[in-house]
């Protein structure tokens, strides 16, 4: 029972990291940029939520009305730079690393380096839970899972069922072929980068529901989020969610069967094994070639 409780709680917690990974995976898979600034945008999402939720009376969920459009633009602007200079995949990593440093420092200059959290009266979700039978789940992680599910389904629908989505998929595989679709792939790229910024806004908000944030938090997410992107398969939307759930469940299970200290060892060993045996990601049916 204890094990099941820990595994499912872990999986739900993992869905938050999947949400963080989603935007990174999308722009990496379809636009061929490795955007570390994404972590900075998530950080901005968290801080803007704290800034807005209380004073404006919007509450954390209501603050999405502001943060989603703002960070949509932020995501698109970052991509504008990559697009304008036709940055290679590797160089995008370095440039966005520079941007990440800048964002972290700006956040610190504005909000100080000290811990920030949403007070309990504005964020009643932090300590609430959902009970199913004997299992109890923290409400913030259930919300994260729901958001992740909705976003993944929506994104999957867009990519598989719409013309623009299929054009993007083609663009991710072969830029020259993609131009034959007759769609303005630049505009599409901006939209996708913006959408990934919007997911960052949601991930940032969800993070503040359960947790305390410092400017350095952005760097703490990197390892786990990359692990999820890799396991899910780069650019694989549904895979990202599955990978988040899997990593969370394994991590939670290891934490309770052995110790939480062992969890990172198991998770990253899993990453290595997955790359060796399923380099295209755990959750992709057909081979990458």
């Amino acid at each position: 029972m204890e094990q099941i409780q820990a595994a499912v709680s872990g999986a739900l917690q993992g869905s938050l990291f999947a949400l963080m990974a989603l935007g990174l995976s999308l722009t990496w898979g379809f636009l061929r940029v490795i955007n570390l600034a994404h972590f900075g945008i998530i950080l901005l999402g968290a801080y803007l939520t704290i800034e807005l939720a209380g004073p404006t009376g919007l509450g954390p969920l209501g603050s999405l009305l502001v943060t989603v459009p703002v960070l949509f633009v932020a995501g698109a602007v970052v991509h504008l730079v990559f697009d304008r200079f036709e940055v290679s995949e590797l160089n995008s990593l370095l440039i966005s690393y520079g941007l990440l440093i800048v964002i972290i420092q700006v956040v610190q200059n504005v909000w100080s380096a000290d811990f920030q959290r949403l007070p309990g009266d504005i964020n009643p979700y932090a300590t609430q839970s959902v009970r199913i039978g004997d299992l109890i789940f923290p409400l913030p992680t259930v919300m994260a899972a729901l958001f992740a599910l909705v976003l993944v389904v929506a994104m999957k629908y867009f990519l598989d069922k719409t013309y623009a989505g299929r054009a993007l998929q083609a663009f991710g595989q072969d830029r020259e072929i993609a131009s034959a679709f007759g769609i303005d792939h630049r505009m599409l790229g901006l939209l996708l980068a913006g959408a990934s910024g919007a997911t960052a806004a949601i991930a940032g908000m969800l993070f503040t529901l359960r947790g305390t944030v410092t400017p350095d938090s952005a760097l703490e997410w990197v390892g786990l989020v990359f692990a999820i992107v890799i396991l899910g398969g780069i650019g694989n939307v549904a895979g990202t969610l599955w990978a988040g759930l899997l990593v969370g469940a394994v991590s939670g299970l290891v934490a309770i069967v052995w110790t939480p200290a062992t969890s990172p060892l198991v998770v990253f060993t899993l990453v290595v094994l997955a790359l060796i045996f399923r380099p295209q990601g755990l959750f992709r049916r057909k081979a990458a070639h």
Binding site: E2, G10, V110, F115, R117, P140, T212, L224, S251
Partner: protein, 439 residues
Amino acid sequence: MRPTRLISLLVALALIVAACGGDGGDATTTTAAGGTTTTAGEGGTTTTAGGPSGDPIVVGGSLSLTGAFGATGVIHRIAGELFVERLNDAGGLLGRPVVWDVRDDESVTDNVATLYEQLISQEGVDLIIGPYATPNIQAAMPIAERHGFVLPQHTAVLAPTLNYSCQFPAWSIGYTPNEFIPHQLADAMESLDGIETVAVVTNQSGSVSFVSYGRPDVDEPAALEIFPERGFEVVADIPYPPGNTEWDAIATQIRSADPDLVMLNGLGVDANGLMEAMLALDGYLPPMMFALFPAPGPLLALAAENDYGILSVTMFEPNDTVLEGLSAEAAEIAQEFAARAADAGVPYTTFETQAAASWNAWEILIQGVEGAGSLDHQAICDYLHENGADLTFVGHVEFDPEKNNFWETNQMLKQVQDGDWVVVWPEDKAAAPLRGPSN
């Protein structure tokens, strides 16, 4: 082509700005020292009788202003600036103004040694003050020792490893903190009824894990040995990594073990993470919980919201009863600090243990210099060994080289009561009685 040109211009500009920023600093401080310095003593120019004059005395040091330790670094920075300003207002040091040259080590241990070497050998600072966080202090100590500089340091408490004879701790949990902390907590728990079982939850970081396990290469008692000796049953022993994300699993495990006391030897917001995860299990909270070195603000907020009397350690809290026993200056400093912290955008502005540690470090340094009457480091070191120091927030302390200068601890336990941190242990220093599970 055009954007390329534009950016190259910007880069050149950035480099020039970077260069000028430094040069400008040189010009304003007009010290012989290279690099730049923060003038913390503008008040010194509108001076009263006996104001400082002459070449400033430069105190160098690094703090983790950015990176993983940044949240606490900002406290030490504000406290230090306040101290220097008050010092200059009061006539400076040896009649000369004091300038604090503080640099950001970015929470990277490798940077610390470099910065201290640079401050001492290149910038030629007169004095140094230690960085914050145990690994950083460990890295700065050999540099200080090599140059024979007195090193007052804020927060490293693992006394046996800090064996440089001119290292002076500003925060002491005695020579054996691994024994003192569990015993003190056990004492407090014995005063309550019905506390029999304990779960020990430990962050693997070197700043705290010795309290649970002792040092890995030394055979010494720590919480996991001491609690059974004292008659408590340890029902769970859960180590977790820094940056842990598995609070749900830990909470589940604790709830199953059902301890009377949770001893969380953690850091920063670990206690918040664990409490939130436990609360999410249908509002579960153990009868008693202790958190070792938490960020005081977020934990106070969460505990107060849930009316939970969580315990922690402290060396100073601005409780009325505590302040009454100290000089009037103490309350004034605490107030002024809170105003500055609020200006800097810091959410929790109370002057407490971390800030007090900072203050202690500065007082030790300044009293050493004044006592020695010179900037000779050996003389300062000798003076402190012989005379100890009188600390505003602690009282008189003695530095025994046999105990690596770790003074008799004034560590107390504090508890969240009615929306505030209140000193509750030991009983003779308590501002209010310790509340047990039933209250």
